[in-house]
């Protein structure tokens, strides 16, 4: 009996010790968690012997949880989108990064150097995706083609973030994201073509797969997933460029494992890991020295050179963080209702 109690006591002592040894990574659930687990985390654990634990959740849930835990973060590393990263940074939740501790970061594309607090992990685009089998004889060479009258009641766009089409309308009106108001009338003219607004990637997939909305402003990675599932989607990159999206990585302020966190980020930027992420998600590597499979490299929305990055429409992440609410409100009041 004494042996039993001794074993139990030892076990209880060992549980927190094991948890201490883990690096905790905050990321979206599902395929995103699996992506990191199968690539970066696997290599990181093999090299350091330190296990990686995941905290998963939606963008807003994780942001709120970390705000409440300020100073004593739940995770050591956070993956989030570039503009949401600015909300973390503005609230003092991110550590200022010492890039000398991330040697592989020297190969980052300029656009992926978001701020002193967060760096791009991979990239994708929001662009025009359509069912060519349902929209016969329609070509999309420019964003202006979305305004064609024959596309009335065919288009869907994300309801959680109208920034893409707002900035596109501003550009087509001769302005930019900071002066987006100049594109208001242009965007109002697109209203008849909207049929619905999707809530998430699954909803986007369902609307395209069923043909309910044969035309979408769609996340490239999501489109490639659907193509892999047999949905005949054509992805068009307009001559003005697609709207660049960057998911980022950062170290939480107050993390007691900052050194391990730096190693983890350095592993993330390993060219082989970046190429593997690109292969699995059909997105762009954040570094320019990743050697991609030619089949992946030629996909629309995947960039391997600095020039390709610069050809895209890049909305400043800080401006986007500040304007999101204003854009969202205007879009709800004038386009969705």
């Amino acid at each position: 009996m004494r042996r039993f109690w001794l074993a139990l006591f030892t076990l209880l002592l060992s549980v927190p010790a094991q948890a201490q040894d883990k690096l905790v990574v905050s990321i979206w659930g599902g395929s995103w968690r699996d992506l990191i687990a199968e690539t970066v985390a696997k290599k990181f654990t093999a090299e350091t012997g330190v296990a990686v634990d995941f905290v998963t959740g939606g963008t807003i849930d994780r942001l709120n949880k970390e705000k409440l835990a300020k100073g004593n973060p739940e995770s050591d590393i956070t993956f989030t989108t570039s503009h949401v990263g600015w909300l973390y940074a503005n609230d003092g939740l991110f550590e200022t990064l010492d890039t000398s501790k991330i040697p592989n970061a020297k190969n980052l594309a300029d656009e992926a150097r978001i701020s002193p607090y967060h760096l791009g992990a991979w990239a994708y685009v929001y662009t025009i995706g359509y069912r060519a089998d349902l929209l016969k004889d329609v070509k999309f060479e420019s964003w202006n083609d979305l305004w064609k009258p024959e596309l009335k009641g065919k288009l869907a766009a994300p309801d959680f973030d109208p920034s893409h089409i707002i900035v596109v309308a501003a550009m087509l009106s001769g302005a930019d994201a900071a002066h987006w108001e100049q594109g208001e009338d242009k965007l109002k003219a697109l209203k008849p073509n909207f049929k619905a607004f999707y809530t998430n990637d699954a909803n986007s997939q369902q609307l395209l797969a069923s043909g309910e909305t044969p035309l979408q402003i769609v996340l490239s990675m999501n489109a490639y997933y659907m193509i892999g599932q047999g949905v005949p989607i054509t992805l068009a990159i307009p001559k003005e460029g697609a709207v660049l999206g960057i998911d980022t990585v950062a170290i939480m302020k107050g993390s007691k494992k900052a050194d391990l966190a730096y190693k983890f980020i350095n592993t993330l930027y390993d060219p082989e890991i970046q190429a593997e992420i690109a292969r699995l998600k059909k997105g762009s590597p954040a570094v320019l020295n990743a050697k991609l499979d030619p089949e992946i490299a030629k996909l629309p929305g995947v960039f391997t050179t600095a020039e390709q990055w610069k050809q895209q429409i890049n909305i400043d992440a800080k401006l986007r963080a500040e304007k999101t609410s204003e854009w969202r409100k205007w879009f709800t009041e004038n386009i969705m209702n």
Partner: protein, 283 residues
Amino acid sequence: MDQRPFLRIFTMPAVLCALGFVAAMAAVLQYSLRAYIPGSLDAGGFTLVNFLDLLKPLYARVFLDTVLICALTAIITLLVGYPLAYALVQIERPMIKSAMLVIIVTPLFLGEVVRTYSWIIVLGNNGFINSLLRGLGLIEQPVQFMFTTSGVVVALVHVTLPVMVIMLAAGLSHIDRDYQRAAESLGAGPIRTFLTVTLPLSMPGVMAGVTTAFAWTFSAFATPQMIGGGRVNMVSNLVYQLGLSSFNFPFAASLCVAGLALTIAVLSILGLASRPFKKMGSH
């Protein structure tokens, strides 16, 4: 000697829960009165601007639409649910009764998102209903159910129905059968007995069911979000769209407070209006 020595201990959990709810509501209320700071998670100083924004015609329309959708859902659920509840009470064979009950309450065991996706499959342009209508040669072009108020209401009725049936069945089962027998012995046929005895006596159950269905529907989110596709919006969808997905928590809080005030107002009116009907049920 204290006749209820454990009263304090037993009421403590309820008191703690109540305190938690009050604290949460107070937090929402104070957030609704704070200014939004672009690009920050923190709220600014006290202001009424969030509530002034709600005076825009768009928001008035969404609040009105919400009440309309709730009312439509409650009425249709009542019309569908009453015969089911009546049958459930009248049927005496336990096997059939149990089978009916299981079928009726099944929607409650499905998650809201799963249930809504199944309705997308049914209501879509290439969904079950349109395929059937096309197969029967009744239509050439699909009927648009998705992204319409009718589509949203149909899906909401599906989830509200079990609650309505259970409440109506509880009301109907409390009616003393002797009243119906007395009416029949005085020469009233089944329809007259139902209209003059059963229906009036079941009014407390009807009013309770309608009130619950209304309040239940008011907080619906995933169904209007996905079936409505951004074209049919209820208050909860606006909270998500304008508050949570764009980080404007003060405005989201003001929408919540206004939505809560509207629910209380509508339910109070419903409570007052239902008094005469409830009296019908006193026997």
